[in-house]
Symmetry: C2
Subunit: 226 residues, 2 copies
């Protein structure tokens, strides 16, 4: 059985997805920018995982990272693109650098990861799951930059799904609302104390991603209690 | 009366909008990357227009271009962001450079133009109109990159509209389907011969953008005949 690639695996939801996948018997190639975070996961999870440091908004680095994953575990059966960042506030406060960083980290990375996934397993088939956000379905004030990136992901993935119709590669779009994680550490945009835990969100997602003989989940929306 | 800023004014829909605005008695600051195209418009339309060359995906250039427009015509009463590009085909064919170019030209430019518009006329009020596309509402195969940029624009603008609610700056989102123009010159993605003309699309848009005392158009969707 092939392994699973998880991006953004060093923290938050990606970390929880990786732990959940290993608990379910999978091997995981973890990708992320911060290698020390991936190393912590390697120490926790042992030989079931490997950490591959990469800037997923950089075409060459994505290509090299996916090649390294294949070298380690063969062709993946599933790719879960979870890496992402956020900046929040009224439109005037975003710097040119922040605009570029959010669009590249969330949207351009999605396109580059999808390209590699189609290239590697477009023929044999498998699953490409992307973690979007409730912000890809609604548009709240002071989230314009984040919404730009997340709606962009949605448009890209909906078009790609039309393109892949009839092929053995399935697209699963995951739309969680706010998750309690270090995603919010440098933001006072929200009080994240009532948000869902990464482990709970990951558990729902992994249930939805489990293969069945006659059908599969295409879209999963997760809201928080209360 | 203030003037109107039109981006992408050198060709296609932006060119037709500019001509239509001048016919209706407005003065237009035209922005675009290709100065020779803007110069042709200056020769055609005389003192009613000025051409300002700028890469609208570059923060400093947008800032300088808007300052030049204000220098020429005072604060604008309306900004119409029409500049945009497209690349089409299956996801695997897009180069890293094409991905960056489409996302920057369509999405990042929208954010930067909106920032300058809010900064200049957020208090006094006016109109910020953006030309999106039917591709921001549907997601067809082989349009994944274009959809990424156009859905991103939509998410950004919907969030910005929520943010600006109750302020005197209005957002108008324009969604034309395919327009017959040089936009398609380097593409065999579609046969554009049956598409709408820039002049027809511009006429509908300018009617929708004309001020009325008790209401205003927020969204305009234009489909082609047949």
């Amino acid at each position: 059985m092939g392994h699973i690639i998880v991006t953004g695996a060093g923290s938050g939801l990606g970390r929880a997805l990786t732990i959940g996948l290993v608990e379910r018997g999978h091997r995981v190639a973890m990708m992320g920018r911060r290698y020390h975070k991936l190393q912590q996961q390697e120490q926790l999870l042992g030989n079931a995982v490997v950490g591959i440091a990469a800037d997923l908004a950089n075409h060459e680095q994505v290509e090299i990272a996916f090649a390294a994953a294949v070298e380690w575990g063969g062709l993946p059966e599933m790719v879960i693109h979870c890496a992402g960042v956020g900046e929040f506030g009224p439109v005037g406060i975003y710097t040119a650098q922040q605009i570029r960083m959010v669009v590249e980290s969330n949207l351009i990375s999605t396109i580059l990861v999808a390209q590699q996934t189609v290239r590697l397993i477009g023929q044999q088939g498998g699953v490409l799951a992307n973690v979007l956000s409730s912000a890809a379905q609604t548009s709240k004030a002071n989230e314009s930059l984040y919404c730009a990136s997340k709606w962009g992901m949605r448009g890209f993935l909906e078009s790609l799904r039309a393109e892949l119709k009839g092929t053995p590669l399935r697209l699963v779009n995951l739309y969680p609302s706010g998750i309690r994680s270090e995603f919010w550490d440098n933001s006072d945009h929200v009080d994240s104390s009532g948000f869902m835990t990464p482990a709970d969100a990951a558990a729902y997602m992994l249930d939805a991603l489990a293969a069945k003989s006659s059908c599969h989940v295409t879209d999963l929306v997760i809201g928080r209690n209360e």
